[in-house]
Symmetry: C2
Subunit: 317 residues, 2 copies
């Protein structure tokens, strides 16, 4: 089935959804950044929208709020993740669900910080909510949990922040300290100028909070505040040296279990399944009857995350 | 949605489907081995059926063919895989589809050897055909391909036979030769008395033929005869020693690409993603826009494979 998409957020993910939608048989009829919108009921041309943004700094002549007045089937919410009330993302999602449209999120805020509100709105709407792209980019974690049945998955564990993993991998491989490798990662574009979200474990914690929400019963809701979070700023190079002498290394490991959510640097055996290198992500699912499943791949990136978004769209039957 | 299942095949997989169906919200109304059938429109009790099989050698008083006359929704075909005409499995599937019932296969024969016939029958039926359990047990390979869209996956590669992988892992770890480790694997129940299917690469090839059928366009059909297959009988211990000196090891690697299907022992870097140990399976999917996805876990076993069967059943909405 072919859907008309309205895309909010013109960053790497939103832009890639615009680029790739037609290869999945869908079309983008509205595309907005925070200041402007491009709208075409017959489907936008990705190249001309991108060229205009490049040339004039706007994606089109419309106002961002005009997106909601177009004849779209699915809202793709790809604006930046915000904490607390998860605004303005949450209001975008609310508006679409009240209008009985489907919503596919790449923005983690509403799923991590206001899961109960989100599910309550969905229950009153003809629209459905999907959010595979919020956990591990291209890695099909949530669809696997959905196929197994959330009740048959007892825990999720893994590495869900590529920036922190890149830094720890490089520190161990090159014997360099945190500050040095962070600067290198920033030069390479792997770490942002303000790396707080990644290196302090917040980004990973949001993803494990989302996993905890999906795995727990409806009465239990998790938020970032419920998670125990420790980042990698204080991991000294000497700790990695000591780990290496013992055949181990350090990874920023997150867990969503019946005991809640926890993200912290942990020792893992070198070469073990959890010891992915570089910007790779991995999730291990503990199942009731099928042992442990491991899923790894690229956890970030525009086309990678857009693939998760578009797979979610196609899943809306 | 709750489905009534008719299960053909009372081996490890069929038995586990009988055991676990109710934890997925389904019930088994018919259960047959090659000589007898247990039938109860109100749902069979797993323990009493298993006890009777243990005690009397039959699962119930019915004739196996009576299964098709019951009021079931989904046929679970879990009889042993056969090559060539894939009988009697294929006729079971045909009967169910002609009666407009859904079919979930754990039997690889019909999907690997008669894929075109299977899809043609499905096209004429109100029933649908699912077969996640035929590839890698509990590993969600086919559902991931379906979510990504088969057209967006350019190749599948990996280790899909746990017995061969166990033997190669042990040969490398212990410096033992093939015959010695095979005998050990047979003692442990990891290898069958006649290990041909596993050690000659036939079982792995059938799985990669199924992947090739799923990934290719409808006009192209693969069968076992189209696959290039080389097993592990002739891998000498010295080859593993030489590989180890070079930081590598040997794995029985299968591939389904645009060039067809190939299974053969291959050198892979030690500790690399493809170098899974013991009876683990792994599949790598090459995608157009999302890089490489790796999925690993238990590729065989009754409850593991039954989990894939029951996830397939639940996917029939």
């Amino acid at each position: 089935m072919s859907f008309r998409l309205a895309v909010l957020g013109a960053g790497a993910v939103g832009g890639s959804v615009l680029d790739l939608a037609d290869t999945y048989g869908h079309e983008v009829v509205a595309f907005a950044d925070s200041a402007s919108a491009a709208i075409d009921p017959d489907g936008l041309d990705s190249q001309s929208v991108r060229a205009r943004k490049e040339r004039e700094g706007v994606v089109g002549d419309g106002d961002p709020t005009a997106v909601f007045d177009t004849d779209y089937d699915v809202l793709v919410e790809a604006t930046p993740t915000t904490l607390g009330d998860a605004e303005p993302g949450f209001s975008h999602v609310e508006r679409a669900l009240l209008d009985d449209r489907h919503v596919v999120l790449a923005n983690k805020g509403p799923v991590a910080e206001r899961y109960g509100d989100l599910r309550a709105l969905e229950a009153e709407s003809e629209g459905r909510v999907q959010f595979e792209a919020t956990v591990g980019g291209a890695i099909p974690v949530l669809s696997t949990i959905s196929d197994l049945g959330a009740g048959h998955v007892t825990a999720a564990r893994g590495v869900l922040n590529g920036t922190a993993n890149f830094i720890l991998s490089r520190m161990a491989a090159e014997g360099l300290d945190y500050e040095h490798v962070l600067a290198e990662a920033q030069d390479l574009g792997v770490a942002e100028a303000d790396p707080t979200f990644d290196v302090d474990g917040i980004d990973a914690a949001l993803k494990f909070v989302i996993l905890a929400n999906v795995l727990s019963d409806e009465a239990t809701e998790y938020r970032l505040d419920d998670a125990g979070v420790e980042g990698i700023r204080n991991v000294p190079g000497t700790a990695l040296d000591l780990a290496a002498e013992d055949g181990r290394t350090v990874r920023l490991i997150g867990e969503a279990t019946a005991d809640g959510v926890r993200v912290a640097p942990r020792l893992v055996p070198k070469g073990s399944t959890l010891a992915v290198t570089g910007t790779q992500n991995i999730v291990q699912l503990e199942t009731q009857h099928a042992g442990q499943l491991n899923i790894s791949g690229r956890g970030a990136g525009g086309p990678e995350t857009a693939t998760a978004v578009l797979s979610d769209v196609s899943r809306l039957e």
